[in-house]
């Protein structure tokens, strides 16, 4: 059963159409990668799903509800968490305060997230609870962004390029954390340019190029198609 199912999703910035009939599915407890080059439409897909583009159209089903016309905060309250790629933490707020902004009531069937549980998942954060977000490293900020979204007790999360700009060792920590989240029962749609990182965590993958989904299948199926990899992912 899918948690999130998207069909015919179009999105525009001003007169420019960025997404063209995007369709994808995210099953419960699955980790699915959305792969594509820079500018292919990955971030726009995510922003369109949570209603942060100026104009969108299409069908977006989430937990059995149509969210294509809902406001951003309503979508978040239904349990679709969004972690933006540019780590938009609140730099003036401390780690604790950043988490407080994300706090929402517990969701049935999921163990509620608390700051303590998140500090266990991301030990670095536990050591800097009173530090303003602006004085953290890139990797720490990325973890805080994820932790902050988890405070809303989402049932599914959109992770936009979580490995971008991180040191190799931190990338491994990040992959481990995502696998942990999957074990917790979270459904995760993660966008990536880094095929290696996607392999570590994903069950399935979609490839997007120029606003259109060009491929969808399991990781094994993708491995068997070097032509597709070369056409849409090679730089």
């Amino acid at each position: 059963m899918s948690v999130l199912s998207v069909a015919d999703l179009d999105a525009w910035y001003g007169p420019a159409q960025i997404l063209d009939h995007v369709a994808l599915d995210l099953g419960r407890g699955e980790v699915v990668a959305l792969l594509g080059r820079n500018g292919a439409g990955k971030s726009t897909t995510f922003r369109a799903l949570v209603g942060l583009v100026p104009r969108r159209s299409g069908r977006i089903g989430f937990e059995g509800q149509e969210i294509g016309r809902m406001a951003t905060h309503e979508i978040a309250r239904l349990g679709l968490g969004f972690v933006p790629e540019d780590r938009r933490i609140f730099t003036d707020l401390t780690v604790e305060e950043n988490l407080e902004v994300g706090r929402r009531p517990a969701r049935a069937g999921l163990t509620p997230w608390t700051p303590e549980r998140l500090y266990a998942l991301f030990p670095n954060l536990g050591e800097m609870r009173r530090r303003p977000g602006g004085r953290m490293s890139g990797g720490e900020q990325q973890m805080l962004t994820i932790a902050r979204t988890l405070m809303g007790n989402p049932s599914a999360v959109l992770l936009d390029e979580p490995s971008e700009g991180l040191a190799p060792r931190i990338v491994e920590d990040m992959a481990a954390a995502i696998v942990r989240l999957k074990q917790e029962g979270l459904s995760i749609l993660v966008s990536e340019q880094n095929l290696h990182f996607a392999r570590l965590i994903s069950d399935r993958a979609y490839i997007i190029e120029r606003g259109r989904i060009r491929f969808g299948g399991t990781m094994a199926e993708l491995e068997a198609r070097p032509d597709i990899r070369d056409a849409y992912l090679a730089v």
């Binding site: 525009w12 910035y13 001003g14 007169p15 420019a16 960025i18 820079n38 500018g39 439409g41 990955k42 971030s43 726009t44 949570v50 942060l52 583009v53 100026p54 104009r55 406001a71 951003t72 905060h73 978040a76 309250r77 969004f82 933006p84 938009r88 609140f90 730099t91 003036d92 707020l93 305060e97 950043n98 407080e100 902004v101 994300g102 706090r103 929402r104 902050r148 979204t149 405070m151 809303g152």
Partner: protein, 626 residues
């Protein structure tokens, strides 16, 4: 020494109210990005309501409860304004929000007179604080000491609110990144409403606390708003501690300035502000605003110079207008000349705003400088009309060069507020320098030379000046300079990368717009035969803004049509009703909400365009590229 300390205390007492009001404005701006022009009006309502409530209730409890209840009532009015009006225009350019709240201000001015009458009202003294306390042998009103203590108490309370409550944390988060807060499940609508209500509550409280100190009057709104703008510009928009520090600075300058420079006390405050802005362009505690384009959508249909058909149409129109003296009487002709001069004024503002992307809230300064330039040339130099008319644009152009040097260093709302402040400097000079300008009595007897004294002749002169000015500004918009100006407007970064100097380009545009406005002002002085400080006052600036808005912000010279429609309407309204501000304010509000594209946008209302261009905040071009 004792005297100086007492004077400093008086300054601190004045700072309390100013801080409350300014912090409210700052908090509202921080989250909603709206510069609430109606903040002074809310302060005034707070003072009037406090007056009525304390008179009605009586007694010590009645007094203090009355002050508080007045502020709560103002907060409720503010929340209603936010829900009914501002919610519709959050995504519009900042100019529209300033204008909408100015429309509210205009309406409140008339409503207050309807409810409380035009006389100043003296409130009762604060029970328990009626006497004076001896400090170093000087008498200090006890209520002043109460206010001196109240300021820091409120500052502390606000600090607790923003740092120790979930609501406060959400507000601080929203100040930084509204989209992200929404993506975390926070309903911004109610966050905005509650922030607006708090900000307006502080404005109302600031007004209410003043009633034992000074009379309540229906002109306090504009005085308050200008002072508060100065405070938040110095302190930094969005910063509460900045508002506190700046309120103290401004109040102390006022307290001591009056001793040292009694004649130019107002000017000193503005000079301090100018210095702060040059050293720290975003105020003492402020931080840079992300630059935003002020003319969205213009890229979709690029501007074109008039084609053959357009030129013929304009020629026919001008010829028809030139024929007016054949059938119109002297009154109509003088109204016609007045409208034509405002066409020039509006066209100069449009050049600055639409072509330059610089929304000035103080363009009246240059119109007024033009008027005074011409009038002073006649009065002090005995210049004939022909020479005096040239003195107008020269003085206005010099004013544009001087003020513009400061203004173009800023952008967006800071630019708007600084232009407003400079216009107030010009106004206060005209108002206070009685020996030269005649102060409030103005300069009389500025009459045209014999050949132009017939209404028809002056009308033709105005028509010629209007035609030439509008045409010249159009030609300039399509000249290489115009392209550079538009490049800077659309993307400062890219323009500078190809070698265009933003500052000098915008500075020249500012001076040109000023000189053209001055030309209109100079002729206006001769049309009326006199000049008063009103020519430089805020309402004149706002008239210009409404004309540009009505004509269409995204057009090259739609302001000409806007000026005709608006000026004709306001002259007609003045003759029909005593409450023209109420009607005018309502018109501005309706215009901003329902006709944001001006009269030309009427067509869009009939057949709605499919692509809503409500640019979600935070969608910069770089993000669009992804």
């Amino acid at each position: 020494m004792a005297f100086l300390i007492v004077q400093a205390l008086t300054g601190l007492a004045s700072a309390a109210s100013l801080f409350l009001i300014a912090s409210g404005l700052s908090i509202i701006f921080g989250v909603t990005r709206i510069v609430n022009f109606a903040h002074g009006a809310f302060t005034m309502i707070g003072a009037y309501l406090a007056y009525s409530l304390t008179e009605r209730l009586g007694g010590a409890f009645g007094f203090w409860f009355g002050l508080f209840a007045a502020a709560v009532a103002v907060a409720a009015i503010g929340a209603a304004t936010e829900i009914l009006l501002l919610r519709r225009i959050y995504k519009a350019p900042e100019l529209f929000q300033l204008l909408a709240t100015f429309g509210v201000t205009l309406m409140v001015q008339d409503l207050v007179i309807l409810a409380w009458g035009p006389e100043d009202l003296l409130g009762r003294r604060a029970p328990g604080f009626t006497g004076a306390v001896m400090i170093l042998g000087q008498r200090v009103p006890a209520y002043d000491l109460f206010l001196v203590a109240a300021g820091p108490v409120v500052l502390g309370a606000l600090w607790l609110l923003f740092n120790r409550t979930r609501w406060g944390i959400l507000v601080r988060a929203a100040t930084q990144d509204r989209d992200m807060v929404a993506a975390l499940g926070v309903d911004q609508k109610w966050l905005f409403t509650s922030v607006f209500a708090l900000g307006v509550f502080l404005a109302g409280l600031g007004g209410a606390l003043q009633i034992p100190r000074e009379a309540v009057s229906h002109s306090m709104d504009l005085r308050v708003i200008v002072e508060v703008f100065v405070v938040v510009v110095i302190g930094g928009l969005g910063s509460v501690p900045g508002a506190f520090l700046a309120a103290v600075i401004v109040s102390e300058i006022n307290a001591f300035g009056i001793l040292i420079f009694p004649k130019i006390s107002i000017v000193v405050v503005f000079l301090v502000m100018a210095v702060v802005l040059v050293v720290r362009p975003f105020g003492l505690f402020g931080r840079p605003e992300a630059a935003r384009r002020t003319t969205p959508g213009a890229t979709i249909r690029p501007w074109q110079p008039l084609g053959r058909a357009g030129r013929i149409a304009v020629a026919v129109l001008v010829s028809a207008l030139a024929a007016a003296p054949a059938f119109a009487g002297p009154y109509l002709l003088s109204v016609g000349a007045e409208i034509l001069l405002f066409v020039v004024f509006a066209a100069s503002l449009q050049f600055l705003m639409s072509v330059g992307g610089l929304a000035s809230f103080g363009h009246a300064a240059y119109f007024g400088l033009g008027s005074y330039g011409a009038a002073l040339a006649v009065k002090w130099l005995g210049a004939p009309m022909e020479a005096a008319i040239l003195a107008g644009p020269v003085l206005a152009g010099l004013g544009g060069i001087l003020f513009g040097w400061f203004c173009v260093r800023l952008s967006g709302v800071y630019f708007a507020m600084l232009t407003l402040a400079f216009a107030q400097i010009a106004w206060s000079i005209a108002f206070q320098w009685v020996a030269v300008t005649g102060g409030d009595n103005g300069i009389l007897g500025v009459w045209p030379t014999a050949w132009a004294s017939k209404p028809a002749a002056f009308y033709w002169l105005s028509l010629m000046v209007a035609t030439v000015s509008v045409a010249a500004l159009r030609i300039l918009a399509f000249s290489p300079f115009g392209y550079r100006l538009r490049a800077v407007r659309d993307s400062t970064l890219r323009a500078e990368a190809i070698g265009i100097d933003r500052l000098s380009t915008q500075w020249i545009a500012f001076a040109v717009a000023g000189a053209v406005a001055g030309l209109a002002g100079a002729l206006y002085a001769f049309l009326k035969g006199n000049v008063f400080p009103d020519a430089l006052a805020i309402p004149t600036s706002v008239d210009g803004l409404v004309m540009v808005l009505l004509g269409g912000l995204e057009t090259v010279s739609g302001a000409a049509i806007g000026a005709v429609a608006f000026k004709a309407l306001s002259i007609w309204l003045m003759s029909q009703t005593d409450y023209s501000k109420l009607v005018l304010g309502a018109i501005i509000v309706v215009l901003v909400v329902f006709l944001p594209k001006g009269l030309g946008g009427l067509a869009d209302l009939v057949r709605p365009s499919g692509t809503g261009r409500n640019d979600a905040s935070g969608s910069s071009p770089s993000e669009a590229a992804r």
